[in-house]
């Protein structure tokens, strides 16, 4: 039995940490303030191979394990949550559906650029009238001649409106149930709405999408007709582990920033870290960070072993995201008035943390999944 990540994981961690410190940290506050999506830095993440970590070499990937991807997401998220979600969504929601459910023609067409990070994919599941209730999809697709015609709308779609977005995978109701389609960026009839004005994740690209008689070739059906919903539930399991890693990065950053500040900041004749009211909060936070780490990498390990991950992914996502929220609250309290100022990074982590409890399955949905797996007759 071992609790340690491998030397390869640690070298990747050191590399991504160095990259994040040099290329992201100096700009994160500015990108946040101006809601700027840094395309060049995302491309540089691609050149590092981060978007290709888990994919086979055939499409240019690194052939690595899921734990490696979690290491990369955690380290990006430790500096900038927006860049962490850009990677997580680019891999898990952009490239992964094509890899998992596409045929070889579709993979050959779309994967190489997605895997290289020279283009981004997005995943249109959520709708304005149906977030957690993804089975209630109202967007429709109809086969007319040799084309699918899509009508409807999608909400909160990450990475769908960047300069390098190449495809959006969309779920829509068809005669057989819910099916999935690859819609190339720029297809007439697919309108990318203006970017949302968000509480956090300001440097991440998020839009709603409206489809008005959007026509795509029949061969852009992804996977079997009517299997779209079931397929995407399994995609979400992977995504939950990735979001857990992102939340872990946020919680760890808040702990580290708080530890530094508690030793530097003096009040009543000494560092504020000597007060139990503060030090005990950081003790508890360190326990939460350790737990979040263990749940995240246990779930990643199960996935890498090919074992069932549903319960472990839900537990990791639930725990880590709530720990990230706690950590942001504690960190801003440790920083006092400075924690409320945008010039301290904890203010950004505070705003960025809330979405972690909502995106890719709310905390309530995670508890529902866990309860069902416990055998309870939950509705």
């Amino acid at each position: 039995m071992s609790w340690e990540l491998s030397d390869d994981h640690e070298m990747l961690r050191a590399t991504v940490r160095d990259f994040a410190a040099q290329e992201i940290a100096p700009h994160a506050a500015e990108w946040d303030r101006t809601c700027h999506f840094p395309t060049d830095v995302v491309r540089a993440m691609g050149e590092l191979g981060l978007f290709g970590i888990v994919f086979p070499e055939r499409w240019g990937g690194g052939g690595g394990d899921f734990a490696s991807l979690c290491v990369a997401i955690e380290e990006l998220g430790r500096v900038d949550q927006s860049m962490g979600i850009t990677l997580s969504a680019g891999v898990g929601l952009g490239a992964n559906p094509v890899f998992r459910f596409g045929d070889d023609d579709q993979r050959d067409q779309w994967l190489p650029e997605l895997v290289a990070g020279s283009s981004l994919g997005a995943f249109g599941l959520t709708e304005p009238d149906g977030g957690s209730d993804a089975g209630a999809t109202r967007t429709r697709a109809e086969l007319v001649g040799d084309e699918w015609v899509i009508n409807g709308s999608k909400a909160f779609i990450t990475n769908c409106g960047t300069d390098i977005t190449s495809i959006i995978t969309v779920t829509a109701r068809t005669a057989d149930g819910i099916s999935a389609f690859v819609v190339p960026a720029g297809t007439p009839g697919m309108v990318i709405e203006p970017a949302y004005d968000k509480l956090g994740w300001h440097a991440s690209d998020t839009h709603g999408i409206t489809f008005v008689d959007c026509r795509i070739p029949a061969e852009n059906l992804l996977g079997q007709p009517g299997k779209g919903f079931r397929n995407f539930l399994s995609i979400l399991d992977d995504g939950r582990i990735a979001i857990s890693a992102l939340a872990l990065g946020s919680a760890r950053a808040c702990l580290e920033l708080s530890l530094d500040y508690a030793q530097q900041r003096h009040a009543f004749g000494g560092p504020i870290g000597r007060f139990q009211g503060l030090s005990f909060q950081l003790s508890d936070l360190a326990v939460q960070v350790e737990n979040a780490h263990n749940l995240t990498y246990k779930a990643a390990w199960l996935k890498d072993q090919g074992r069932p991950i549903g319960q472990a992914a839900a537990m990791a996502k639930l725990y880590s995201t709530e720990a990230a929220m706690d950590a942001a609250r504690v960190a801003t309290q440790v920083f006092g008035g400075m924690g409320f100022m945008e010039e301290s990074p904890v203010a950004r982590f505070y705003r960025d943390a809330k979405i972690l409890e909502i995106g890719e399955g709310t905390s309530e949905i995670q508890r529902l999944v866990i309860a069902r797996n416990l055998g309870l007759p939950v509705e």
């Binding site: 030397d7 390869d8 070298m11 590399t15 990259f19 590092l48 191979g49």
Partner: protein, 255 residues
């Protein structure tokens, strides 16, 4: 074009270091990392080989306990293979001994066009190994390179000086020491990291290299704390204090 880069694996500078009281040298028994000042040489070598259209970058290093962590980083950047000299009898070796050992290690790698080293390590700072290495190998040596080019089999270097730089040329093979900033070191890619673990590292002892009777004349006899910085001079402004500031700067010869 084949380039050898001398790389040192050092204790992580971000962690508190510790001296061995018996030898007054840095303790190196923990995990070591690639000396950042050597990452410039590795990058320079990779660029020269790419520009030449072929060949490979090899590494030589001397470190205790078969340590390869720092070498793996350089291999992940793109170096092809490494020779690691790891031998308890070399613990605390002086700069000349290190140069002799590294010289012997380079010979294991066959024909070479250029040997690159950093100007000095970040932990020992003697700054003398590259020149001694050149002397042991009987090769020309150029130090403090801030740019390195190879044209028509000739090494062309801009050599940093206090006043500016010298333009220096010399025939190959040669030894060149490069300054930090000569190039921007690349980040190892994920594929590079995955590939690094299967790249060959030839781990040898001093005896394997034919370096006999390892002993050295240089010893560190004592280590003292740097003197604490003295308090600065406080000048109360009486309306004429700018003269004192000008005088102070003039004494420093900065104006």
């Amino acid at each position: 074009m084949n380039v050898i880069v001398c790389v040192k694996q050092i204790p992580d500078p971000a962690l508190p270091g510790e001296l061995d009281p018996s030898t007054n040298t840095l303790k190196r028994d923990g995990k070591l990392i690639l000396d950042e000042s050597d990452s410039y040489g590795v990058e320079m070598a990779l660029q020269l080989v790419t520009a030449a259209g072929g060949g490979e970058v090899s590494l030589v290093s001397m470190a205790p306990n078969d340590e390869v962590s720092g070498l793996r980083t350089a291999l992940a950047m793109g170096a092809a293979k490494a020779v690691l000299v790891s031998d308890p009898s070399l613990a605390g070796a002086d700069a000349l001994t290190t140069a002799k050992v590294l010289a012997a290690a380079t010979k294991r790698l066959g024909d070479v066009d250029l040997i690159i080293a950093g100007t000095e390590s970040s932990d020992g700072y003697t700054g003398t190994v590259p020149e001694q290495l050149a002397e042991v190998l009987g090769l020309p040596s150029i130090t403090f390179a801030k740019t390195v080019e190879i044209a028509d089999g000739t090494l062309k270097v801009d050599r940093q000086t206090e006043a500016g730089y010298d333009e220096v040329t010399c025939p190959l093979p040669a030894v060149v020491s490069v300054t930090a900033g000569v190039v921007e070191p690349r980040y190892p890619s994920f594929k590079g990291i995955m590939a690094a673990k299967s790249k060959p590292v030839d781990t040898v002892t001093a005896a394997d290299l034919g370096v006999e009777s390892v002993s050295w004349a240089q010893q560190i006899t004592s280590v003292e704390d740097a003197p604490a910085r003295e308090a600065g001079e406080v000048i109360e402004d009486d309306g004429e204090s700018f003269n004192k500031i000008v005088e102070f700067l003039d004494n420093l010869k900065v104006i």
